[in-house]
């Protein structure tokens, strides 16, 4: 029994050592990750995006909650810090989508959340043509809850009448890139959220 316990401890210790080596800055992730590496948000660049943000105009209510997930696992191939997000969308009093329970899932791979984002861009670039030269924004993806579609998802901090806010941009991608769509299958359902931009106030 003692031998078994020692063996288990040794395996756990060994795996842990491999899993976190080397520790790199999240901004050093060039898309070709080093196996076993941990891409850490060393400068806390993701922190300003954390929070609950709400858009409301009378008939439309959209609430996004963004959390920071530490050491999300890409199938233990590498690890990364992420902004994960879930949302509630109500239109004319009818709840179109509410994915917030997904936070209870505690996915090892944070990429399975509706929003999973850690691609920090600075200054004018794709998704932000009027960004200030030193402004950081996030460019990533949104997964739909009514279909398996995904969208480009841009997150940019801003202010509205002195209140902290976030501008999000949603652009749905072409459908049929991941799962092959054959001519005989029915159309994919429309996504829950529209193809547009929202400015949400931080709560």
């Amino acid at each position: 029994m003692k031998t078994l316990i020692k063996l288990i401890v040794l395996v756990l210790f060994t795996n842990n050592c491999i899993a976190q080596n080397p520790i790199l800055n999240i901004t050093d992730d060039n898309g070709d990750q080093i196996q076993g590496a941990y891409y850490k948000d060393i400068q806390n660049l993701l922190d300003p995006f954390v929070g609950i943000y709400v858009y409301s105009n009378g008939t439309t209510y959209l609430k996004f909650e963004f959390r920071k997930k530490i050491m999300s696992s890409m199938n233990n191939y590498y690890f990364e810090d992420l902004i994960i997000g879930e949302y509630q969308y109500i239109k004319n009093g009818i709840t179109i989508a509410d994915t917030r329970n997904s936070f209870l899932e505690n996915y090892a791979n944070g990429g399975n959340h509706s929003v999973a984002n850690n691609f920090i861009n600075t200054g004018i670039g794709i998704g932000c043509q009027d960004c200030a030269p030193t402004e950081n924004y996030l460019r990533g993806g949104l997964s739909d809850c009514l279909s398996d579609r995904t969208a480009y998802f841009v997150m940019r901090k801003t202010t509205v009448n002195g209140q902290e806010a976030m501008k999000i941009g949603i652009t749905w991608r072409s459908d049929g890139m991941g799962r092959n769509r054959t001519v005989n299958e029915p159309p994919t359902p429309q996504p829950a959220l529209p193809n547009t931009e929202f400015i949400l106030i931080k709560q």
């Binding site: 898309g31 199938n75 794709i126 043509q129 072409s174 092959n180 769509r181 429309q190």
Partner: protein, 185 residues
Amino acid sequence: MNFDAELLYVATPGADGDNFSVILKTGGNFIIGSMHNHSQDGEPIPSFGDLKWLRDCYVATERVERRPLIFSMVVCNNQTTHVTNIYALKINDFDALNTMVNSVWNNPKYARYATDEKKMKAIHKDEAKLYEANNYEYQRVFLQKYGTTFGIDLFDGNTSYTNWSKLSISNPTAPNPTVISTPCN
């Protein structure tokens, strides 16, 4: 979809609930190609998804004699340079394309996604980071990553769209090879 019929690159949103995304299907007797644009929030170059669609289209067609015609065209507008390109992808070696698409698709790091679309989203995120790390030199990086091993050719329409040029790189193993444009006619 083009709700306002202005045929502008920057889309004008349609009625609430309508979304600008095209469904790229495969199979049957008639589908031998597709054409779509990459939106202003996407990378202005064909993606891995376009290569996978090319492979899927080749496999799914019921008219095998039409396989040599299969193509994927992508309209891209670089939001920084404001240059619009029409790119066309053609298969020159299906076995290579099939093998290499599978090698990316089955990479262990993408294994734990609930849906194929989420997996594709992760692959596209890695592509975006690669372009950012290489100063957004889209053509060079695309050709270095896919141009020599994926069994495909990349073509670029000229500014008046009356001719095509095949794009290649001077030395695939060099760190920063030059992109060579060879007119088709």
